[in-house]
């Protein structure tokens, strides 16, 4: 029996270990480095309506137990994504979640409408939260009303589960989470990166071309855990946890606070086989402890 299977909307995932958008490309780069069938899902690099070239360099900087990025969502656009990337993706023995972003609410609707015609996609993740896109982006994730409306609009066009990805850069992530739940999201994923910055004192220049960028990696894990916990307490839909997960132990912490699934981000850069190893580890853990993942999820003991 599969002790670690999960569901989001009406789609079943063989295990709850996914790879996070923007950290796994469209999977091709990882070919040969891990067995795709061992991971629960691949979340693609964000796809936009039109091709985007991304931000000028420098785009990345290493920080204490973390990294800053301002990649700027370079991608080939939805049409070329369908033509060039989907053929590879749809042949992989794992679930494919396509992450989409737009400058306007209408963009999200149009991309999803287009992707509805395409085979081999199992769910959508709406990126409401990328801090590196200058025009828009932030407004969707920081304004509950807009977030709810856009979710509802996309919901109408989508026959597949919708996961809405939330930014941590807000006073109350649960308010936004509740709004998208209201709008019809099947799940939320959190967190995207935190706004951060670094400076080269010698040249007096920011380390990133966009001045600020997004912070990810182990440094943000405690913050991610607090946000995910807050979401799990306040929402009824599943929460997909993201943020600083490097190993099985990290992933387990998120399950204990209530996450239904987790995504591995920055860790893929350091150990490309990380997600598969964590998935294998989770199987082993559940077997050794003789428990179902469902018993682990939300098992935090807070009475005292």
């Amino acid at each position: 029996m599969n002790k670690v299977a999960i569901r989001i909307g009406d789609v079943a995932f063989a295990n709850p270990i996914m790879v996070a958008s923007g950290t796994f490309g469209y999977a091709q780069e990882f070919d040969g480095l891990l067995d795709f069938s061992q991971i629960g899902a691949i979340v693609t690099k964000t796809v936009t309506l039109e091709p985007r070239t991304g931000n000028p360099p420098p785009r990345i900087w290493e920080t204490a137990a973390g990294m800053l990025n301002s990649i700027g969502l370079p991608n080939v656009g939805v049409e070329e994504f369908i033509a060039k990337k989907m053929p590879f993706l749809r042949n992989l023995a794992t679930r494919i979640v396509v992450n989409v972003a737009g400058k306007t609410g209408d963009d999200y609707v149009r991309i999803v409408e287009r992707l509805q015609q395409v085979d081999g996609i199992d769910a959508y993740e709406l990126n409401f939260s990328c801090p590196n896109v200058k025009q828009g982006g932030m407004s969707f994730s920081a304004d509950a009303q807009i977030a709810e409306r856009v979710t509802a609009d996309v919901r109408k066009k989508s026959q597949r589960p919708l996961i809405v990805k939330l930014t941590p850069n807000v006073t109350s992530i649960a308010d936004i989470g509740k709004a998208v739940e209201q709008g019809g999201a099947d799940a939320v994923s959190a967190i995207n990166t935190l706004v951060g910055m670094a400076v080269d004192v010698k040249s007096r220049r920011p380390r990133l071309s966009t001045i600020t960028g997004g912070l990810s990696g182990p440094a943000i894990k405690p913050i991610a855990l607090a946000k995910v916990y807050e979401l799990c307490r306040k929402l009824t839909i599943p929460v997909v946890a993201i943020g600083g997960i490097m190993n099985l132990q990290d992933a387990l912490e998120f399950f204990v606070v209530g996450a239904t699934a987790v995504q591995i981000g920055t860790a893929n850069f350091i150990n490309p086989a990380c997600a598969a190893e964590i998935a294998q580890g989770l199987h082993g853990y559940c077997r050794a402890q003789n428990l179902n993942l469902q018993e682990l999820i939300g098992s935090l003991r807070v009475e005292k």
Partner: protein, 275 residues
């Protein structure tokens, strides 16, 4: 020449450290064992090594293959200590294992029909050229190396390089060995003299130096290749962090290339060389 290598070719390897030895000021030669890698690796490619026991150092650290013994499986990189990662890597002990992701990036492909191969290296920019010179040792063309360093004690393996080249120009900033001044100076003189018809220029080193080489290639209409050393979070095309800006020729819809995947070796007239 900038062909991507087959994406299946890279592997995550756990390699035994064979030896570590200081070879110049602040610079070490680290040799690890991998028969497979020693067969696969091409000059210009690199290995991305995880820094052991340093939890706050997130990224692997990229190093060019410096010397490969295709028979014994000994793979050598040259490491200059510039920060905490390189420092930690020069503290490993023989017998320890390092997590190596390799081989990464494209590689130098030298057309056989050239007359002269001109190599311009600054500081640790010499690293990949030792391997390259070994690989092309049997080729008939002339090999000229322009090698600049801060000071005499910063040069690595000059005698061996000398035996691998037809001509060797050394410069130091402080004049303690070779000519005093920038390595560009002997290169300028060399190019000003009439020479081989079909010259190819390769360069790796500090940004300013590579920019100067770029300008000279333009001036003399020489084909050339530059090997860049951008910061890299992944080293295999996953993060898109190592973007290199292409020179806008009004043609390409793709203004950025990735140093780790499309490079690190680029045609010198195609990219903007920047910090």
């Amino acid at each position: 020449m900038t062909d991507n290598c087959d994406s299946h070719a890279k592997h995550l390897l756990n390699c035994r450290v064979e030896s570590l030895a200081q070879v110049a000021f602040n610079t070490y030669r680290l040799t690890f064992a991998s028969n497979w890698l020693a067969e696969q690796a091409q000059p210009g490619q690199f290995v991305n090594i995880a820094v052991p026991r340093c939890g706050d150092i997130l990224w692997r650290r990229p190093f060019s293959f410096h010397q490969i013994d295709r028979h014994s499986g000994a793979c050598t990189v040259l490491i200059q200590v510039i920060g905490r990662g390189s420092e930690a890597l020069t503290r490993v002990q023989p017998g320890e294992h390092l997590s190596c992701l390799a081989p990464l990036g494209n590689h130098f492909v030298i057309p056989a029909e050239i007359d002269e191969l001109l190599i311009v290296a600054g500081g640790l920019g010499i690293a990949p050229f030792f391997f390259l010179l070994q690989e092309v040792a049997a080729q008939p063309y002339k090999k000229v190396l322009f090698y600049g360093a801060a000071s005499a004690d910063c040069f690595c393996r000059v005698d061996e390089l000398s035996s691998l080249t037809s001509q060797l120009f050394l410069t130091t900033d402080d004049g303690s060995r070779g000519e005093q001044g920038l390595v560009i100076k002997p290169l300028q003189r060399f190019l000003a003299e009439p020479g081989g018809k079909r010259r190819l220029v390769l360069t790796c080193g500090p940004t300013r130096m590579m920019q100067a080489v770029q300008n000279l290639c333009k001036k003399y209409h020489l084909p050339g290749y530059v090997s860049v050393e951008n910061l890299m979070a992944c080293g295999f095309g996953a993060c898109m962090g190592c973007a290199v800006q292409m020179i806008d020729k009004g043609l390409s819809a793709k203004p950025f290339l990735l140093a780790c995947k499309d490079g690190p070796v680029f045609p010198i007239d195609e990219i903007v060389i920047d910090e």
